[in-house]
């Protein structure tokens, strides 16, 4: 098979992406119900946005879906390193490249080529992976602040770690909004994350 005929997103990435969407969705919605039990900000999430029905149900969902997210995340990280996906596609961009691509994106002049990642995409996708890892690490630190005491101390103690966990949730939600909005603008990217659509040819930028 020629290089240009390779799928924009390899099958393992597509599978792990959708398992991740389900796991993160469960974590997010049940997390909002848990947040509502003791809100640290002056607002609560409406009941229709939450999962679990009440605190115990939400916690059962949260520590159940946790394993799915953990397994999916580990599999994705290992795949990303071994396959070269991270090195090839998600290399951290330079600030200048982000500035240039962001400027073009805001003027709707940034072409979207399936299977190739511009600087803004590298920043967003690389960033959300780091944020997800921080969400998992802070989550573990507030789940087991005695058994994982050094991790909790690293995040500044239980109340601060809980605040960081909540902040990471906010950043993931913000990423999801931008991500879904961009997919709505370029619907063929949704097709390529489901079916084995060939990557676009690389064009010089």
């Amino acid at each position: 098979m020629e290089q240009s005929r390779a799928a924009a997103h390899p099958l393992p990435v597509r599978i792990m992406h959708w398992i991740g969407v389900y796991a993160i969705g469960c974590m997010m919605l049940s997390g909002w119900e848990i947040y509502n039990a003791s809100p640290s900000l002056p607002f609560q999430f409406p009941a229709w946005m939450t999962l679990g029905g009440w605190l115990a149900g939400a916690i059962a969902w949260h520590i159940g879906a946790m394993w799915l997210l953990f397994a999916d995340g580990i599999a994705y990280l290992m795949y990303g390193i071994v396959s070269g996906h991270f090195r090839r596609d998600l290399r951290p961009p330079t600030p200048a490249a982000v500035g240039a691509d962001l400027g073009r994106a805001l003027r709707f002049r940034l072409p979207h080529r399936l299977g190739h990642y511009n600087a803004v995409q590298r920043l967003l996708y690389g960033g959300v992976i780091v944020i997800l890892m921080l969400a998992v690490a802070t989550g573990l630190s507030i789940w087991k602040p005695v058994q994982f005491g050094s991790l909790t101390a690293l995040f500044g103690g239980y109340p601060v770690a809980r605040g960081i966990h909540l902040t990471m949730m906010g950043l993931i939600a913000a990423f999801a909004i931008v991500h879904v909005a961009l997919v709505a603008i370029y619907p063929r990217t949704l097709v390529s994350m489901v079916a084995g659509v060939p990557a676009d040819p690389e064009t010089p930028s």
């Binding site: 003791s38 009941a47 602040p145 058994q147 109340p159």
Partner: protein
Amino acid sequence: MIRKPVVSAADIAPDLNRLRRRGLLRGGLSLGGLALLTGCDLSTHSGVDAALWAMLRFNDRVQAALFNPSRMAETYPVSAVTTPFRFNAYYPEWQVRSVDAVDWRLDVAGLVADKTPWTVDRLRTLPQEGQITRHICIEGWSQIGQWSGVPLAAFLRRAGADLRARYVAFTCFDDYSTSIDMASALHPQTILALDFGQQPLTPEWGAPLRLRIPVKLGFKSAKNVRSIEVTNTFTGGYWENQGYDWFSGV
């Protein structure tokens, strides 16, 4: 002739709450419901709820494996103690029940050699340990408090308990109950607290005797204890039987 009611309001409160929750859930669609095609909150008999209960049991086993008996909860200076301390129970503060400490006895049951009930005075003759630790609620909030009393391990040894038994169960005179694993019961920071903030416990903080177990979430630290049973039979607890995570280690 007036007869004492066979069933009190407190007896059916958990069931009423459960029914109310189910009604609430059935009443409206939720994002969760839409995404998962079912409203699963541990109270239905659906397959998803069965899976959630199975995951809870699995998580209990993982938590027991993660539990390191020599790892201590962080301790704090007196200056870090939270004031005012937040009251928390399954009922509001005006419903706190109290007993006369002179009449009160702690019953000991199950796999123990000496089942003699304990008075407060006799408990005070045992070695006492103090601690200033963080009480972490399952709701997410936390506060630092100071307690002292008899290490549960010392008490169990004194009563000739079978330390190979699986559970230590607590029954309270406010109709609360909980149970913990033996490994956590024997942790050096697990105490039968008689004092809170260097003063004898008052009713709202669990007088005359409460469990204080900083290696578990706050609701495991049962207040107003009436009896302790050492057993191999899983007895769950007030919240645990409704779906709160039983092990609840931190």
